[in-house]
Amino acid sequence: MSNLVEITALVTFQLAQLLLVVLAAPLLTGWVSQCQCWLQNRSGAGVLQPYRVLHKLFVKDAVMAHNASWLFRVTPYIVFGCMWLAAAIIPILAVDLPFSRAADVIALVGVFGLARIFIALAAMDIGTSFGTMGARREMLVSFLAEPALLMVLFTASMISQSTQLPRIVDALAHHQFVLYPSLAFAALAFTMVLLAENARIPVDNPNTHLELTMIHEAMILEYSARHLALIEWASSLKLFAYFSIGIALFLPYGITEAGDWAGLPLAILWLCLKLMLAGAALALLETLIAKMRIFRVPEFLGTAFLLAVLGLLIHFLLKA
């Protein structure tokens, strides 16, 4: 009987996390752009603007290119599904959720990769030059960002001796406080990967209207209505997932155990606080730095990879 109660609690926690993430992800995107508006002395559209955009897109009629194949139709659902799955794996509210045992950090990177492959293929499917250009650029950025991300995750895995995210969080958060110099390097590298993977400013501009500088936006130019809404929502989910990975690796204090009802409100409070801080930091970073030339991006991501490798080396040397 107690076993059944335990399982119910675990499943409830998992469902709560899934719902929270999917509902709160646009809010995070709205918060980041609102912070940017404040920093740039504009009044801004409010933190709820992404919801209004999503609502508007969902009620519109979808327009489809004549030569669009099934790949083009199915991609938004796959991308959205991948991002939601990723958010289910990461310990956001609590560790030891049922889903998180199914996949480790390497599989998590694979889930991101799957979504990227589909969105790049869909961009090439229509055959417009901008879509193809965006897809090629996206692949250039991501094939450099992925090894760096893996190296960052490996550094954390080496410390906790496990590639399972719950175990990593457990090792970092619930033991005695230790300063890890290797994680400082990893955090820096992770920030650079986050900027590149989420189409943020030094690499790509999410608000650009200039087609020639687009990367992510160029790939989804042909999408409209509910498809576009799903892709935008998936982008918000991706940002949320990346922030959550960052929190799980570098600021894991406050994530509770699954089934611990008493700790849940505090965990949600901590999560909100950390996400607000991280979002404000992202907005500040984007306001302070300028977008770089596309040919500088390999150097930027090369530096990220190098920092991640340095972190790993320092872990070997200092054993910390």
């Binding site: 110099p181 400082a184 920092l307 340095l310 320092i314 040397l317």
Partner: protein, 220 residues
Amino acid sequence: MQIPYALQFVDFLSALLLLIVFAMLAQRRILSLINLFAWQGALLTVSTCVVAYSTHQHHLYYSAALTLVLKVLLLPWLLHRLIQKLNVKWDVETLINIPSTMLVGIGIVIFAFNLAAPITEMAEGLTRGLIGIALASVLLSFLMMLTRRKAVSQVVAFLSLENSLFFAATSATQGMPLVVEFGIALDVMVASFIFGIFFFQIRETFDSLDITNMENLKDD
């Protein structure tokens, strides 16, 4: 095994030192290079203070103060004034391009860590890993001296080399005698003044600070 927090902090600072040396290696602008050098000095001051506090060696406070005055305030100020007088605001030219330099740098770090491994085996005390990092910083500063073409950035590389050595001395071996430190500080001071004079001489002779021009001085 739980290491005391003070030493963990020194470990952390050593990692930051390595990071700053890498940033210097990747830096294209001479002004940012000098600012990074000032940051390196600040880091050194903090780490010396922490070591002084945790090992109760009061003379290390004097060398920390010396570092602060000399390497954070005076030398960067001198270098800033120099590049203003020489009117050098150009981007630094390197012999090898920056990404390749970084790759060589990673190789050097691995080499230095391996080289330091037997020393760390023998050494006792808790700051063992620092020798490897300090050695890596020294070698990376060497690399920077090799790959830079302009005299000013070579001098910054030299000063960063001295910083790395100083870091090794204070944190791995708990400090040199104060007299030696005063001597070294004075040497660095004098050296940077002489470098300043050299810059003007080089520019007067060749109309440029590019040291490859010095090849012309050789007899055939």
